[in-house]
């Protein structure tokens, strides 16, 4: 979204804004071009806010509203953990199912092309069941399309992407892993969509690690720093 306009009133930058607030009036146009980011909406001559948050500005001409929401919005390059929802596929390219459907906790299901694996050919399509966990990379995330995923890194290698076997999936948010790793050996995949998968040698260790992470996530961040020493 690009538009020509004057600077917004500087007083609004880094201030709290609410849905409906008008931050810019385009009728007072100067020659400068500006770029609008998330949370801003152009309606005729007026630029208004659509989300509650803080107005941000980045030089030279970018404006957006910084806000927090629980829902994941995919963006290209993100590493995420997904659950296979539909594993049917066909290599006959005249019919449907050229993609696996994967739930990555965003507003629509994401597509994983059946050939998007390391050395993917028609003969090497992996067999997944419904509910299989996958560590994936978001390749395309355009408005109006289902996001596209891949099990390869940019150079075509598997690079730790792929199915996650056993273990336990949870969805916490926190930075305690290093301290935990000093005590217990465990395997972890952290997705940008808020999902965390943990595996270890024994089930009790898996439960211990994941419940510690979940508990930590529930603590207030100020408390969290004290807790780090205890662990």
């Amino acid at each position: 979204m690009e538009s020509k306009s004057s600077m917004p009133s500087p007083s609004l930058i880094d201030q709290q804004v609410f849905p409906g607030d008008v931050v810019l009036d385009m009728s007072k146009i100067t020659s400068q071009t500006i770029k609008l980011g998330g949370g801003l909406h152009q309606d005729g001559d007026l630029i208004s806010v659509t989300k509650a948050g803080v107005m941000r500005f980045s030089k030279p001409n970018k404006y957006w509203v910084e806000s927090s929401h629980k829902q994941y919005v995919p963006s290209a390059g993100d590493n995420v953990i997904g659950v296979v929802v539909d594993a049917r596929y066909s290599i006959n390219f005249y019919v449907m199912y050229q993609n696996f459907s994967v739930d990555i906790k965003c507003s629509t299901l994401a597509f994983l092309p059946v050939l998007a694996f390391e050395g993917g050919t028609r003969k090497s399509i992996p067999k997944f069941e419904r509910g299989t966990l996958l560590y994936l990379r978001v390749v395309k995330a355009d408005a109006g399309m289902n996001p596209e995923l891949s099990c390869r890194d940019a150079s075509g290698k598997a690079a730790n992407y792929g199915p996650l076997k056993d273990g336990l999936l949870s969805s916490p948010t926190c930075p305690v892993l290093e301290s935990l790793g000093k005590k217990i050996a465990f395997e972890i995949s952290v997705g940008l969509n808020g999902r965390v998968w943990v595996n270890s040698s024994t089930p009790p260790a898996v439960v211990l690690v994941s419940s510690t992470i979940i508990q930590m996530a529930q603590q207030d961040e100020s408390l969290l720093h004290d807790q780090l020493h205890i662990v």
């Binding site: 849905p19 409906g20 806000s67 629980k70």
Partner: protein
Amino acid sequence: MEFVNPEGLRLDGRRPMEMRQLRAEIGVVSKADGSAVFEMGNTKVIAAVYGPREVQNRSQQSNDQALVRCEYSMANFSTGDRMRKPKGDRRSTEISMVIRQTMEACILTHLMPRSQIDIFVQVLQADGGTRSACINAATLALADAGIPMTDIVTSCSAGFLNGTPLLDLNYVEDSAGGPDVTVGILPKLDKVTLLQMDSKLQMETFETVMQLATEGCKAVASYIREVLLENTKQLESRRGV
């Protein structure tokens, strides 16, 4: 029955143009994408928003806008006499529809095509004005979920009893059978998205009553702004900015 006594006070001690106390809390349902509790005096309502998410019923999917769904229900313990009501009774279906239409007016549905937004509102305590409280709670929950809106919708009711316009009716005043005007507005754009009235009212008095309800909506709007401001501040301090 006397609803305004000679001293000019109502049954619950308010003045005719006085609102009940407002209280709101954001993020009360941990599993939901957005949630809020809204209280207007003794009326207490909880709202949870899920989405935008995959459309459950494919035939309802639309390629140019999001599908908004709303479900209103009343807890069995919300009223004085505990009654087991069937789930889809006419009253709650009607209120669900009213809330859905009101919220649809402010959500930018065209930004989220092929998805659905679910709004669940439940009345925990009913003391008149549940419709308004539900709309206010739903607005807060939508803002918490980060769903793009043109403006916040706020709602308030007003009535006309004993020849006096009364703001924000409680249960006793509501069930007196007098006119009950519920108004929902977009305060920044100054537009009306909801206008309902039970019983009849003269044209001139209707104007004043509606004006009163609109003033009430604006008061609610400034309170909701305060709550959102507090929430944003908290989020900022948690990030350590």
